[in-house]
Subunit: 171 residues, 2 copies
């Protein structure tokens, strides 16, 4: 069991009434908690052979690049629409109401690349599933999904069947 | 002189006609260039005593957290409006047409904290200046502005008078 949970702040009724938001900024600003979290993410990934780490905009950019440095991989940002300047793969995904889109440069992942995907939270799994489709389009192979936080009752794992999934804290 | 420039892709007429956009994704996806860039950012910062590293949303989140880990500081995201869940300081800044706003949690920086501010690009300096005002409101002291890229003809340094400014690549 991780004791990182003590550093996370719960903000009630954010972003809307009835939601308890898990705020990682109180963990990040604490130099010791920042190191401890990195150490645990690295422990989960250090045995893997990884060519690229994907970080999902925007909180996934934080530990995403750090993980890439630790395991000697390249770093690839997956971004919200119209943020990447060159040619992209696009993938829509379902929101509670409506759809959203993620984009990745077509030259970001080479065919056969082993890919680790990092984000801060696994909730419904919609964004993670969209990333799996982007990596598939590019011909890469995802070797791990790595999250700080997982919210099991939202059942995001059901959208990522067959993939290795690691999370440090479960609520 | 840095030879990181060779890894940066110039995208012409992005985001609008006449602009030559400097795309760092081609540097980030190359594992060797990613390491080399980190090494140079760290060389510029390793002699400093730093309590917090600020990363400016969203590309500043990438090497920002990595730098915080390297120099044993906490990491603080400065974000676009309405992204941070708890109480914030707000700072408006001027765009070419209109204004924009940045926010930082009021409890992110303690009075007297030494702060390193990181972003990918120093252009007109508007966002960097806004961050300097946020840190001032919190009672912190900025010991360095750290950028990957600087575009000297836009004269961002003029807005950051009196601060130490480091950039790895100048265009």
């Amino acid at each position: 069991m991780s004791n990182l949970e003590q550093y996370i702040r719960t903000v009630n009724d954010y972003p809307k009434k009835g939601i308890s938001f898990k705020d990682i900024t109180t963990l990040l600003k604490d130099a010791n908690a920042l190191q401890l979290t990195g150490k645990e993410l690295f422990e989960n990934a250090k045995h893997l052979q990884v060519d690229k780490v994907i970080g999902i905009e925007s909180r996934g950019f934080m530990y995403g690049l750090w993980l890439a440095m630790q395991i000697n991989a390249g770093f690839v940002p997956v971004r919200k629409p119209n943020k990447l300047p060159s040619e992209v793969f696009r993938q829509e995904y379902q929101l509670e109401y409506g759809v959203d889109t993620l984009e990745m440069h077509v030259d970001a992942i080479q065919k056969g690349d082993k890919v680790l995907v990092h984000d801060d939270v696994l909730a419904t799994g919609g964004t993670a599933e969209a990333v799996s489709k982007l990596v598939e389009k590019a011909g890469g192979e995802i070797v791990q999904f790595s999250f700080l936080i997982e919210i099991p009752f939202l059942n995001g794992r059901s959208k990522l069947d067959g993939y290795e999934i690691k999370s440090l804290i479960q609520y």
